[in-house]
Symmetry: C2
């Protein structure tokens, strides 16, 4: 593992060089005004940090305190079995420190605090993602299912043991044969009127429960999802409480079997496994019966008449998984950027602008582009997450809990979780590469975190599938709005107030009516560097993409099944792109909303640069679309890249402040290269050469000698 580059010929140095007047200026930690004297705006790190902590700041601080404790940190290099043992012990530690009960009912010593619970849970990711997810399986999935899908009797019977970890349990939903398509799972729960029992059965290999946390070792109980069949009718997917293992011997109970999923790409502190059931009988009352029940004589009843809405409602209680993954992904991106940016302010490589000192990495334009664009996205994703979390709390606290609220929450989570989890992987990888070989060492954590976060992009809803749910919602809202309108007209990329309303009705965000107000996209483009210009461009793109696909799919529902499906498939890629554009707009709006809450003027200036960088980066990424659709002229489009480059230079002096505001300490970042050691090493090296030059004993470079000789020879000739 050796890095080799030749720099012969002398001109190699000129490729790597220094940026403008701010090169080398690094602001210290804390408010950066003092050291610079007013010409530059300064970030109020403390105030910004407080804003970033959001509504549940106290819970986050408390949880960060715990996450900073060495007992909870991931030990690298363990085998997966050792890691599992450690994480199980850490779960007990969380119980002992009252860290995991906030969402549970007050009468069971919980706090009925749903938003706070998720906020606290998210912060655990910095200790060890395995710890976070294993806690999520136990309390966020297994416990939550009993709480939200069960009723009083179930709560009294199982929640205390679940909360105390006396009953480690599984959330047995996914099957080998069905990932994201939960409605098609094949496990059955057939009611036997003769005995008053449900019979849980796995009909074939593809119906084994799979990837189930706690299944391989620890799970004593499980919430098992199965098709509820009674009196010859399948009432769809319901949840059943099933005892899995003997609490003393830890052996599977009769009729139950399974196997270990083995080593995984990450999260090896969790014992994922497979489960299967051979006509396992459970009491009728083990049906978690909040949304559907069966009487002793086998009669099914539900407070929700429509099977579709019932399914949606039952699974809807589980949205918190997606909400918390969104938050955890943002937290990890912050950790990675804090480490990589700190290192880049200390690390020197290649001397371009002077004969003695090498450049600090963060002064290279490409390095700024790699890290600052991701810093901007991380801020956007963080602000969007805070809005999602508040929406989640509104729904689950009952403050705003209509059907529409729940659907909006579902759609918002389905939009944001894909972007933030993909962003976390991208950021971890870019940071790891930006730190070179050092980034690959586990002591610097990028590779470890990346491995653990990998599965976040496909679990709790595959990202690609989630974006299709968002697209479906966008299309449905669009169709509702324009039931009586000629699609052909709309499809001709006409931006009218009406389409603005269509997007507005998704209920997700109050998107601005800039385009409608001004009546001209071209005018908006003139101001692409301004907030309203960015908003107009981003909003217009979503609206146009949705209306284009909507028009193309007009009448698909009336075609024979196979033809309609084929038509949809021809537009699947566009649909997913439209959903992503929508989610990006939501992030941009959240960032922009957050700017309004900043009172310190210096902070506001710098954060506005960062928001502009985010907005312009989105526009640059989709520049072809804006050009193809006549939204930007060739001349204007050519300015986007330059403007981004200028923003990079402006943000450079504030980079450290912007990551310091995340508020994570070394106990969370724990990267050897972000401790100041690099600066010590660089300073030592420079001092060595300085002393050598001062002593007059420094060896003369052969090149210098040759040049001198050549000059002397010329002198003799003349």
């Amino acid at each position: 593992m050796t890095e080799v580059v030749d720099r012969s010929g002398g001109s190699g140095r000129t490729v790597n060089t220094k940026t403008g007047p701010n090169a080398g200026t690094t602001s210290g930690t804390g408010t950066s005004a003092g050291s610079r004297g007013g010409a530059q705006p300064a970030v109020d790190v403390a105030a910004l940090g407080e804003q970033l902590l959001g509504k549940w700041a106290d819970v986050r601080r408390q949880s960060r305190g715990l996450a900073g404790e060495p007992e909870l940190h991931k030990t690298e290099g363990l085998t997966h079995t050792e890691h599992r043992t450690r994480v199980f012990g850490q779960l007990k530690y969380l119980v002992d420190h009252n860290a995991v009960h906030r969402a549970f009912p007050a009468e069971l010593n919980g706090a009925d605090d749903h938003g706070g619970n998720v906020a606290g849970f998210e912060e655990l990711v910095t200790a060890d993602p395995s710890l976070q997810i294993k806690a999520g399986v136990q309390w966020g999935l297994f416990g939550s299912a009993v709480m939200h899908l069960g009723t009083a009797e179930h709560h009294a019977k199982w929640l205390p043991g679940i909360m105390s970890l006396e009953i480690p349990g599984c959330f047995a939903m996914t099957e080998t044969g069905h990932g994201s398509d939960v409605a098609s799972i094949a496990t059955t729960a057939t009611f036997d009127e003769a005995t008053g029992e449900f019979v849980i059965h796995t009909p074939f290999r593809a119906a084994w429960k799979d990837y189930t946390g706690n299944a391989a070792n620890d799970g004593l109980g499980a919430v098992v999802f199965a098709q509820l069949v009674t009196k010859g009718v399948n009432h769809g997917v319901h949840a059943f409480y099933v005892d899995l293992r003997d609490p003393d011997t830890k052996e599977f109970l009769p009729g139950i079997g399974g196997e270990d999923d083995g080593v995984k790409g990450g999260l090896n502190g969790i014992d994922n496994g497979r489960l299967h059931f051979n006509n396992v009988r459970i009491p009728r009352t083990n049906l978690l019966n909040r949304y559907g029940d069966v009487t002793a004589d086998g009669t099914y009843s539900s407070p929700i008449a429509s099977p579709g809405r019932r399914f949606f409602t039952m699974l809807g209680t589980l949205v918190q998984g997606r909400v918390s993954l969104d938050g955890a992904a943002v937290a990890v991106s912050k950790i990675a950027l804090a480490a990589a940016i700190r290192y880049a302010t200390e690390r020197r490589q290649f001397n371009a602008s002077s004969h003695t000192d090498e450049e600090v990495l963060l002064d290279y334009q490409r390095h700024q582009r790699r890290l600052f664009t991701r810093l901007a996205t991380t801020y956007a994703a963080g602000f969007a997450h805070e809005q999602l979390l508040q929406k989640f709390d509104d729904v689950f606290s009952g403050a705003h809990d209509t059907d529409e609220d729940r659907q909006d929450l579902e759609t918002l989570a389905a939009a944001l979780k894909p972007l933030s989890t993909w962003h976390a992987l991208d950021t971890l990888q870019e940071c790891r590469e930006a730190c070179g070989g050092a980034g690959f060492l586990i002591e610097n954590r990028f590779a470890s975190l990346r491995a653990d976060m990998d599965v976040y992009v496909t679990f709790e809803g595959d990202n690609t599938v989630l974006l299709q749910l968002v697209a479906k919602r966008l299309l449905a809202d669009y169709a509702k709005e324009f039931r009586n309108v000629d699609f052909g007209v709309l499809a001709r990329y006409v931006v009218t107030q009406a389409t603005g309303v269509a997007i507005h009705r998704t209920g997700l965000r109050q998107v601005a009516q800039f385009v409608a107000d001004t009546g001209s996209v071209q005018k908006a483009a003139l101001a692409l560097r301004d907030e309203e210009g960015q908003r107009a461009l981003l909003t217009d793109r979503v609206q146009t993409m949705v209306s284009e696909v909507g028009a193309a799919l007009k009448g698909a529902g009336k075609l024979p099944l196979e033809k309609g499906a084929a038509l949809f498939n021809q537009h699947q890629n566009e649909l997913i792109d439209a959903a992503q554009a929508h989610a990006e707009l939501l992030q941009w709006e959240a960032f922009t909303d957050a700017l309004r809450e900043v009172s310190d003027p210096g902070t506001k200036v710098v954060l506005t640069w960062l928001r502009d960088l985010f907005g312009l980066s989105l526009i640059e990424k989709n520049l072809a679309w804006y050009l193809m659709n006549g939204r930007l002229s060739m001349q204007r489009a050519r300015t986007v890249g330059d403007y981004i480059n200028r923003l990079l230079v402006k943000i450079r002096p504030h980079a450290l402040d912007l990551v310091d505001a995340f508020g994570y300490g070394e106990e969370h970042i724990r990267a050897a290269i972000a401790t100041g050691d690099e600066k010590t090493r660089q300073d030592e090296a420079r001092a060595h050469y300085r002393a050598q030059r001062a002593s007059g004993n420094a060896p003369v470079d052969e090149k210098v000698l040759l040049a001198r000789t050549a000059i002397a020879a010329r002198g003799r000739r003349n």
Copy 2:
């Protein structure tokens, strides 16, 4: 780890649907004509496979035979120390099977076969990347350095022990403080005339050798790179043979110390570590003196007068590292795609186009886009690699070994290695996600291979730095060509025959003169689906980008150092983009060259679709550039996406053939999901439901029941 998606409301199914007339048609292994009757072109898998094996087909087959043996396979879940032990044992296995000596001199039982050696080495990656890289450290770096930088005496003394693994050794170049910037390493080798020895010394912490394979445990010897100082003059970086450890006790020799780099993000079968030297004395003759020597009285001499050229020549012998990483990255991409595409032809998810059967994943448009675009790039990278390997063999065999040949080889390797290694990471990740949760299980290998391949993008030259070397070369050639031309004119995006020549003169590829011939880029754009149209667009982009940056940087060399450097930095991002565009063009040209060698008409048709998909994907990725620069009209640009979608449908029936042609067996792919087990599971599930329906005992769906009741009620009312 559970995947949840609601599909309530019934319309979810329509988002995931089936593609056109070819949906569900999967060609079998082997020539696919027979089963289809002539309407469809067919791929001659055997002939294509032979072409892909390339010039060193026999060596590859032999090496694949070895790589398929269980003794050489990675065992997952080991600790890093266990893994190291296993890999060291595997190196001995390679020696015993004569697998690693092809490049060494015939008189030492080698074969003087440089191309074949690299070809064979690349194939080992499918067994375990740690094995490949550890072998690369021992024979490709340590052994190669002794062979290429040393002279007869050194060969006789050390090569036999290196070849037999009696002397495991290190290639100690990179330092903690200097990664890719080798010229700046700080370790010194100062000649002491009094004793006739070199004194190897580490002046400060940043000068420790780091990330060095074999350093933590196994290395008994090392080639140490250090600044050679004699008589007060620093002659630049030279290589020295240094004994590191006592062969019996395995303890460091006096003055030498080091530490273990510990667990890494991957490649944990290699014991990377750090080394430092405290005035360690070695005989004068331990200088590997092919390109620079010191007499007993301390007089330095070299066959290469210029220190810059000397440095370039010494490091140039090490280009094979980059060549072989390029090939290994292509091999891994093939393995990943073979597994993911096989799985996608068997896995069913969501039923869209019929009420009973679910869709095969590979019939979804998005899935095709995710996998086929990467399949096309893999073919392109593979063909480009074969050209690189032949160029490498030409130089190292002495067949074509001018200075210019060596520089071209260096530049070509610096262009291709970044693209193929990034592509491997991207492909592994996309394949892992395309396989959902199953993709995350180590038994399916994507995550394991990705972790191991991660460091390929920064070692043997950081990818970003390598692309800057390419850019430097492009600029230099450009400047040479236009020394007397007005840059301003060129910069105005004028495409003339002259600029075509400029690119041609990079010596890398005979790029076509299409633009020059027709005199019109616009005319070329009319034919963007044709070979010449694609070539014109891709070539023009490189030419224009280089000439634009060239014009912007005009005179930078005459500015004061700091200002010149700042000017370069303002264009660093563009420079890297231009280099990447150049490398992509090389891949496209290689693919196009390969088409000419295909004689089977059906294969030619299908491969041409795949080449078009590659070309069009490049154009789509850079569509904004083509629009901004007036190369494509808005109308034409809007057709690119549609055309790509149509190509996906055409390629669909041949997907399995195209991965089968890679020629890897299950012993290389070793992914549980690519064994046919998934098909068995799916067939079992469908048979179950068929039997249930046939029996008349299938439970009725509540939704169906509700619909019937509603109809009956309506009947009663009427």
